[in-house]
Symmetry: C2
Subunit: 195 residues, 2 copies
DNA sequence: GTCTATATTGCGATAGAC
DNA sequence: GTCTATCGCAATATAGAC
């Protein structure tokens, strides 16, 4: 992306789409926030959907990159690495969780075209880590692996979705986020550990 | 609600709003699905927003009712009761999680007007149960209570959001849902238990 | 209570001037 | 590459006939 107008559009659209959802944002609104002409959205991104897809793509790619570096670690470390990566992603790309959750709850064309394959890949990553942990005797062997994988995703991410609503009750610093992730993964690992 | 047209509108709008989100659904679409005239939405619900608010109200009320019956139980039972209630709610009102999550991620006026007070009340319920458990020595005393409360919500609910996407890998029966809730609450309680 | 017809507004997209 | 102007359409809402 080597054009100033294009970058302004991209940057301005992120919080709008993330906070209101695809359908609730108009291209006029985006153009105004970016302080550029409306028609430049079509010019640079071939329309509203193209702009949205470009944003989704860049955000989900960041997660994929972060997780891939955990391959090869022992099972528990792999899950701890996942937890740490998630927490870091949330500070680096604070809107990523809203895009993913928004597409999970109210899917648009971006789910099938862009997100699905990434999410399946994350799911396989977690399934494998948990299964490896069971096979090597460190996790309980009566676990439903699929369920356990979704439990980890849930425990790691909900805090970051709910944070804005509970901001009066929570410390919203970066350190607090890291502390959340640390406690959450500890609860989870203690809960699935073979005794 | 004592009118057939009104009930048809209400019933038809639930899956539409739940699956696509408030902004992405048009009143024409709802009227068509309900097989009634468009203008009856204004007649019975004073417009699209009124219909949406009526639906949100009925769904969140169901959760409040289910949780309230846990008051007075010992801490761990209170949390198990919460988990069981959540899982039962998901089978009885399969769209409730989508409404709540949709409002958390992309809030509309319903968040401030209807949902917020309920969600704060659930949050207080969980905080108190966890704090009581710490005070009575059954949960670890180094827990961050606020974080632990959000962890429980996350681990209990994400499965029900993700289920449609992962339907090829999961057993989607009612029994499987109950089994999920059981395993999830066990992981969580084992993870926060004082050793 | 239900319908048609319509008022009004805002949407996404683009042609064409500069 | 940026702008204005406008097209065509779909949105919500409602007045008024039945």
């Amino acid at each position: 992306m080597d054009n100033a107008t294009q970058e302004k559009l991209f940057a301005a659209a992120i919080p709008l789409f993330a906070e209101k959802g695809y359908a609730a944002v108009s291209i006029r609104e985006i153009a105004k926030a970016a302080d550029v002409n409306v028609s430049s959205i079509s010019y640079y991104f071939r329309g509203k959907e193209g702009l949205y897809h470009a944003i989704i793509e860049s955000h989900i790619g960041a997660i994929s990159k972060a997780i891939s570096s955990a391959e090869g670690l022992p099972p528990e470390e792999r899950l701890r690495h996942y937890a740490k990566a998630i927490s870091e992603i949330h500070t680096k790309k604070p809107y990523v969780i809203r895009f993913v959750q928004s597409e999970l709850v109210n899917p648009t064309s971006a789910m099938d075209k862009i997100l699905k394959k990434h999410l399946f890949s994350f799911y396989r990553f977690l399934n494998k880590a948990i299964q490896d942990g069971i096979d090597s005797g460190i996790f309980r062997d009566d676990l439903d692996v699929h369920h356990a994988a979704l439990s980890l995703v849930g425990i790691m991410n909900f805090y970051f979705i709910a944070k804005p609503l509970f901001r009066d009750f929570l410390d919203t610093s970066v350190e607090a986020d890291a502390a959340y992730a640390e406690q959450a993964v500890n609860i989870y690992l203690e809960g699935i550990r073979r005794k």
